[in-house]
């Protein structure tokens, strides 16, 4: 076989991570927005993500799984370097997972506690993911400037998830909650714009690799398509508020896809920047090909039943335990 297996797996891994960020991003965003809503609205918000959040998280397991299977050396290195933020993210995901189930079953101050933990877990997981991205982009270098940069990316990603969550609520709710979600979307948009601007200004300072990639003259012009398209998506989200239920969410997803492509371009062909390329880090071809067979067989079914589940739950969300 002359397939470039490491490249195929890098693309699969990227696709899983993108799917994770968009899918779990909206439910993490909804989690972070909880405190801004009334008790009754919180139940509707929870109901809007209820059928999906378990499966959404599975994309993270797949992304990390592919890193483990296809690039085992990089898996150990990256996750070792990110040990504490990974632990923080996992703690956040665990807290919110268990809180999501318990907030529906508890009463009184217990319910309040689980609500608060659901918010906190969502926030902690989101922030930790952004922080990890920042550390990854700066090749895990020590120093306060790199740390500051990573904190900035953490904050920016929270804004991005809030944007996804708010536009998801526009799509899935109606009435006063939907109107509130439009307001949240505007805040999310401003937050994202500020975050992206600061991160873009910071990147040349903290990463030569990324800087060289983007400001190498003739390519720069062609590359400007990505930021330009992001600006267009940003404006599109703002303009379609109140005019369409689905366009704001689609626009928010577009912003994430574009940002992801930009990051992928910044990093390629490295798995660990400046040290390991994806071909150097790849596992044995026998392990890759046997996994690829599984992917090829399972992926159509997976996409099929995922689409099925989203169709079953299309339309506006209603409050109530398990949609009763």
């Amino acid at each position: 076989m002359s397939l470039d297996l490491p490249l195929i797996f890098a693309i699969l891994m990227g696709a899983s991570i993108l799917a994770y960020v968009v899918l779990d991003g909206y439910d993490l965003g909804v989690g972070m927005l909880m405190p801004a809503a009334s008790d009754a609205e919180q139940d509707v918000m929870a109901a809007s993500i209820g059928p999906f959040w378990d499966a959404n998280q599975t994309w993270l397991v797949l992304g990390v799984g592919i890193l483990l299977i296809a690039f085992p050396t990089a898996h150990g290195y990256i996750l070792g370097a990110l040990y504490l933020p990974v632990a923080a993210m996992l703690t956040g995901l665990m807290l919110r997972g268990v809180s999501f189930e318990l907030r529906m079953k508890a009463v009184g101050w217990h319910a309040e506690l689980w609500n608060w933990l659901f918010w906190f877990g969502s926030f902690l997981a989101s922030f930790a993911q952004g922080f990890m991205l920042g550390r990854y982009l700066t090749a895990f270098q020590p120093g306060w400037n790199y740390l500051l940069f990573s904190l900035l990316v953490g904050a920016a990603l929270c804004g991005g998830y809030v944007l996804l969550g708010a536009t998801w609520l526009i799509l899935r709710t109606q009435g006063p909650l939907q109107a509130k979600a439009m307001g949240w979307t505007k805040w999310g948009l401003l937050w994202v714009a500020l975050g992206v601007a600061l991160v873009s200004l910071g990147t040349p300072v903290v990463s030569e690799q990324v800087y060289a990639r983007w400001f190498d003259f003739p390519q720069t012009l062609a590359l400007m398509v990505l930021p330009a398209a992001s600006v267009v998506s940003w404006l599109w989200v703002w303009r379609s508020l109140g005019r369409s239920d689905w366009k704001p969410f689609a626009g928010a997803v577009a912003i994430f896809v574009l940002a992801f492509l930009g990051l992928a371009y910044s990093v390629f062909p490295y798995v660990v920047i400046g040290w390991l390329t994806l071909w150097e880090a790849a596992a044995h071809p026998s392990a890759l090909s046997v996994t690829l067979i599984g992917v090829a067989i399972v992926l159509p079914f997976l996409i099929g039943y995922t689409v099925f589940a989203y169709r079953v739950f299309s339309g506006k969300a209603k409050a109530g335990l398990y949609g009763k």
Binding site: Q57, V64, P72, T73, L102, L302, Y305, F308, Y322
Partner: protein
């Protein structure tokens, strides 16, 4: 700090995570099949009480599943962070097995769980029942793949060396390695028993509050009968599993029996304090020749003692005691299941019997954890028997980071476990409400 501390911390952390995690799949694997039974029953009768029973248990399942998922995500990260040497050495075998678990099981169960939980009024009865079946198939497939990997680490087969690392020579041999059929069956039965005692125990708890709850009594009866059928099967499979271990991992059996010397007519040690420094048992109570009979079905057969495997022997005391805890709890479960199934055929169960079932609600957890301790500590000092030592797989994460995150995990797990048990007993006390 020396390398020993880091090894201990890494093992403590991984052991804590894996032990916490396995509690929840152990329930959800078999509870998923219980849910199908409850769902089918409601579809047949259309009775509001049956619907309420289904709804009660689907709530408990959802909570169990959620904790299983989130603690499982932790596992997928810790393979690499705590044991990078593991992935470097055997990643070409472990990776694809884990990959197949994610691909064939995780998405299936998580997606159809959404439909099962939230879709009862949105899809037809048939589609809803198919969703319940898909969830159960997913949980079982997940157990299949992870036990294939776990068994391969115990009794590796089907691999070849390629440079410094292993690759698979024959995937069917890797998956269906010598101990896999026994381990998989043993774990599925353990799940069945754990779920049965949970269902029986919580139903008994409900009956102690409201003796007239006919639905709870019916559920208790069904679970007791299921346990009475599964328990003797588990005894047979456990014995076969032990014989398989004797063939492939004799050092583990020697540790289970605390048999230090190789001899004919090895006694069965009922109780002792294994003295690892002196290589003997203190305060031993023994039945002459019984171990030879149990293991080789012959009073005078020779059993290899730990002395034959020095220095590669597991820590004896934890394996020895965990095995006795597992067997002890199993005997209690068998006795209660049989007596309960017989007595519950008559109306009005006595309160002491209900208390007995309520007290044994989480007995499956204890037996299962003890069993995993036997098999995993019994594998030491190997991570993959004969191929990779646990010491050689250790990563370079600083002790401080390991210690800090360990403390964090202990805290979060304690909160989750406490909340889980409180919520379950609370739901059970309220009972199934139409």
């Amino acid at each position: 700090m020396d390398a020993g501390d880091a090894l201990l911390l890494a093992r403590a952390q991984f052991g804590l995570n894996i032990a916490f995690h396995i509690l929840f799949p152990t329930i959800s694997i078999a509870l998923a099949w219980y849910l199908i039974a409850f769902r089918v029953r409601y579809a047949r009768t259309g009775d509001a009480g049956d619907l309420a029973t289904y709804r009660l248990w689907v709530k408990i399942f959802a909570l169990t599943f959620a904790i299983g998922v989130v603690s499982g995500i932790t596992m997928s990260f810790q393979f690499g962070t705590n044991w990078p040497g593991y992935m470097e050495q055997v990643g070409n075998i472990a990776g694809p097995l884990l990959g197949y678990e994610v691909l064939t099981a995780f998405f299936l169960e998580a997606t159809f769980l959404g439909v099962m939980l939230f879709g009862m009024n949105r899809v037809s009865t048939r589609v809803h029942m198919v969703s319940a079946v898909m969830v159960a198939v997913g949980t079982t497939l997940s157990a299949f793949w992870i036990l294939a990997l776990s068994s391969w680490m115990q009794t590796p087969a089907g691999h070849v060396m390629d440079g410094d690392a292993l690759i698979a020579g024959d995937w069917l041999e890797v998956i269906f390695n010598p101990s896999f059929p026994y381990r998989f069956t043993h774990m599925m039965l353990a799940s069945g028993l754990t779920a049965s005692f949970l269902v029986a125990g919580l139903s008994a708890w409900r009956l102690l509050q409201a003796a007239a709850d006919a639905g709870a009594l019916r559920t208790l009866r069904a679970a007791a009968v299921a346990a009475a059928v599964l328990a003797p099967l588990q005894v047979v499979v456990g014995d076969l599993h032990g014989l398989n271990t004797l063939e492939h991992q004799p050092a583990k059996i020697a540790a289970i029996e605390a048999a230090w010397k190789t001899q004919q007519g090895t006694p069965l040690v009922l109780f002792a304090i294994p003295n690892e420094l002196a290589g003997r048992n203190d305060f031993a109570i023994e039945v002459p020749k019984l171990a030879s009979l149990v293991l080789k079905h012959d009073f005078d057969a020779e059993i290899q003692g730990l002395e034959d495997f020095m220095p590669d022997i597991p820590p004896v005391a934890p394996v020895f005691f965990a095995f006795r805890i597992m067997v002890g709890v199993a005997v209690l479960m068998l006795a209660l299941a049989w007596f309960g199934a017989w007595r519950l055929r008559r109306p009005a169960p006595p309160r002491w019997l209900l208390w007995a079932f309520a007290g044994m609600t989480f007995s499956g957890w204890i037996a299962t954890l003890a069993g995993w301790i036997v098999t995993e500590i019994g594998r030491q000092p190997w991570l993959v028997t004969g191929i990779l030592r646990t010491t050689d797989a250790l990563g370079r994460v600083p002790e401080a980071a390991l210690g800090a995150s360990l403390a964090g995990y202990v805290f979060v797990y304690s909160v989750m476990l406490l909340a889980y048990i409180v919520v379950l007993t609370h739901l059970a006390r309220e009972g199934a409400r139409p």
